[in-house]
Symmetry: C2
């Protein structure tokens, strides 16, 4: 059995315990973890490291780089233990969130396609040790990733040492799903040859010099993702607005009947939109996205989607079980790529994606805040939304028009933090309706966003702000001292409503 | 003589006056003008159109699309005449600026690489008539552009009709400088094959079905660009900070001795930086930029630069004369491309550019406002800065630390408008110093920007804001009701200083 998983006989001598592997990690090191969402992340060495540090009893800090978020369990324990100095490029865990919001962790919120480039160019500290989950190690010593690729290839390429968690709970049938392509150093590159969603341009394993593999820890733990909230009335209405818009675009001849490759962010809104496709007349769809969620497999099962490319599987426990047991059925319709390829600006533009992402807050001129509650508290991070929004053919941002039972309006006069500028946002969708902003000036956008997307209870306040601002003039009218009056009011009274 | 310029004999019958050509333009049409900066813009038909409309004496509106800005003379008269309904993707003229700031013109401020894509996908109204300056029309009826390419190829491809201004004042020797490559429709594209700054991947002429050429107007007027302000003490200090940083990057092994292809925005700061290269030890440099200014030719003359690619020449009258008279000398070192190629996200990342652009305002966390004075009044537009900043290997934004004799601080607590987010900005440069923000969390960035870049007179105010904000907490600390207090104070008292 192990010979199937660890095909290079010489490497068997490097099998160690998690504790021994953790003992090699020194204070001040930079670690590169496999994992994108809680898929394919390393599961035991980080915990062994935390235990080790507890015993040392003196200050110990490491930088932790990942693909995106990792399992809540691991990121949470890392945050609690206080051993993380710098964390990038994304997280979504409440204890890590608390640590970075109180300044204990230096968090660098990055476009997910950028991290590999920053490592190549030396813009961020290099990776000392890569901790990588694999389903197998080939005879050449190369690594077969598990349920994500993310930044794994670049961490392996750049690290001084690699420690592998060989996870026998991840099916060996994952071999062949991955497509590992490294574009090489900037200035010395050939064009990335991908022109079709399902095209394979690389290798099925991550190349590594076996001499760099310092240790191998055998593990046996499934990925742990939580179930995604099912669609509710409001997410279903958003999905319907979006699907009706796409139908109209097809009728107008601006999109073909099979649309264009779809990208969607993670979460309940994205899930509702994809559920909407399930019940639509669209067929032969393609997905070129970052995370492949449950809904992608429902669309594959229903023959609505013919090909799906991503950089990780983020599946509920039931779907995970179903997919892992039926990989041969999905094999020809799936590709997992490095996140610098799934999120590549040039490829997103070349393929002409339809990008659907979630906003935290949208202002009347179409700027989007994806990250900061009330401008200050980090929620998760920008993730890949910027890679897609800027470069897609059609860029949607979706949000419920209100939060906190109406005490917060998601449509505000001016965003308290801007992650996506007016230049990058095509269409806003709330449960109230849809605002197509393409080709509009800021004043035209404001009317459309307020009337189509804001909650009716907030429209009078937004109209009053806009009218007062227009009286002062300007291409993008604002009353600068009142631009964040909604936020200030919420902080004073607990509600943005007057 | 005309036979050299107009090589398709059948097209000679279509020579008309500017007045006749203008008579074909109808109320409600969308016009695509050649021109990027005041280079290669159409010079007589727009003026004839304004004259015609004056005589009609009834409401008449057109949409005007260009490459970027056009000559101040033309954009100004268009604005004054009140015939422009919608203007995109960029302008830099005071009367047009007034018209869009008071809401008379609907201005759509776009990334300069996006306009061609928006036309292909039908996201903005299609071009009815393309008005194009050319130096010659080939036997096949194809157009040899003059001093810019910009959006000319896409306007010609998408327009129902093309009217040519054949400008005999632009030298025929420009033929061969251009490299026209159209990537085609999204989803049906091959990779753009460019891997070297000077590589030619397309044609020297813009293809057009001669049947679409409705008229040809012979003109004889040079481009009219103003001289760029020479470096002053402060722009020279900025240039020195930037050059010292690049030297340090070379010493640290993060850049090679010839750096990486350079991009620079338009204006006096960019000019000073390039003048700095002239007196530096760097050699064999390459430029992959949007606008090629005077300084590029000084660097070519000094053998500091071996190859320069752009989408227009924006030259002072003297340099224009010198370059046009010596094109054969420069021919092998110059390429003019469509702006969707010069500014292409995929190519910018592939080549790994060093991007140097100008900020209007920077906040303590590294967001950049490139467009809006006090958050409301449009200055020019984002231009290509977003295309470059997001995708470059190293992204600099430069600004003097103050404006209006110290009454405005260019470093503020929170930008009043965000064009470039924290995710896209690597390095801030002012005459005070340089802040390298790579890999830093917001709190780390704030200290560096305040201490290295803000004017000393404003540092106490910025420190006080930051400290008050940190006491409230958050990943990006702010005192939300005071985030724009600098701007509000300026509007009340005429100074951001207390």
């Amino acid at each position: 059995m192990l010979s199937q998983r660890l095909r290079n006989a010489a490497l068997r001598e490097r099998i160690v315990t998690a504790e021994e592997a953790a003992s090699w990690i020194e204070d001040g090191m930079t670690l590169g973890f496999s994992g994108f969402t809680a898929a394919g992340d390393v599961k035991v060495i980080p915990l062994a490291l935390v235990e080790r540090v507890k015993k040392i009893g003196k200050p110990f800090k490491v930088n932790v780089y990942t693909g995106a978020s990792i399992s809540a369990h691991i990121d949470g324990i890392l945050a609690e233990s206080g051993i993380v100095h710098r964390r990038l490029p994304y997280q979504s865990e409440k204890r890590m969130r608390a640590a970075l919001n109180n300044g204990d962790v230096c968090y660098v919120d990055q476009h997910l396609s950028h991290t590999a480039e920053l490592l190549r160019s030396g813009a961020i500290p290099p990776v000392d040790v890569a901790l990588i989950e694999a389903v197998a190690i080939t005879e050449e010593g190369h690594l077969i990733p598990s349920t994500s690729v993310g930044n794994t290839h670049i961490f392996v390429a750049q690290a001084k040492e690699v420690i592998v968690e060989l996870n026998v709970a991840q099916p060996l049938a994952l071999e062949g799903i991955h497509d590992i392509y490294d574009p090489g150093y900037q200035g010395h590159r050939q064009p990335i040859p991908l022109t079709q969603v399902g095209q394979r341009i690389g290798m099925t394993a991550i190349p590594v010099d076996p001499a760099k593999i310092r240790g191998i820890v055998i593990t046996n733990q499934a990925d742990v993702n939580s179930a995604i909230a099912p669609p509710d009335d409001e997410t279903e209405r958003m999905a319907q607005h979006l699907l009706n818009f796409l139908k109209d675009e097809v009728s107008a001849g601006r999109l073909g009947p099979n649309l264009a490759p779809l990208q969607s962010g993670v979460g309940s809104i994205a899930n509702a939109v994809f559920a909407g496709f399930l019940n639509s007349d669209f067929s032969d769809l393609e997905i070129y996205s970052e995370v492949l969620q449950d809904s992608v497999f429902q669309l594959l099962d229903a023959n609505k989607v013919k090909m799906a490319s991503g950089c990780s599987f983020t599946l509920s426990p039931e779907t995970h079980k179903h997919v892992m047991a039926n990989l041969d059925k999905y094999r020809d319709k799936l590709v997992l790529r490095p996140q610098e390829i799934s999120n590549n600006p040039g490829l997103i533009r070349r393929l002409g994606l339809i990008a659907i992402n979630t906003a935290l807050e949208v202002d009347i001129y179409g700027h989007v805040n994806s990250t900061h509650v009330l401008g200050t508290q980090m929620m998760n991070g920008i993730g890949g939304s910027g890679d897609f929004a800027r470069n897609a053919r059609l860029t949607f941002f979706c949000t419920k028009s209100y939060a906190k039972k109406g005490r917060i309006s998601s449509i505000v006069p001016m965003c308290s933090h801007v992650d996506h500028t007016e230049h990058d946002v095509d269409i806003i969708v709330t449960e109230q309706g849809l605002a197509d902003l393409r080709g509009l000036s800021p004043r035209e956008r404001a009317k459309r966003i307020i009337e189509n997307c804001a909650h009716p209870a907030y429209r009078p306040l937004l109209r009053a702000y806009y009218e007062e601002a227009v009286a002062l003039g300007g291409h993008t009218p604002h009353v600068i001292e009142k631009a964040h009056s909604f936020h200030a009011r919420y902080m004073q009274t607990g509600s943005m409503m007057e």
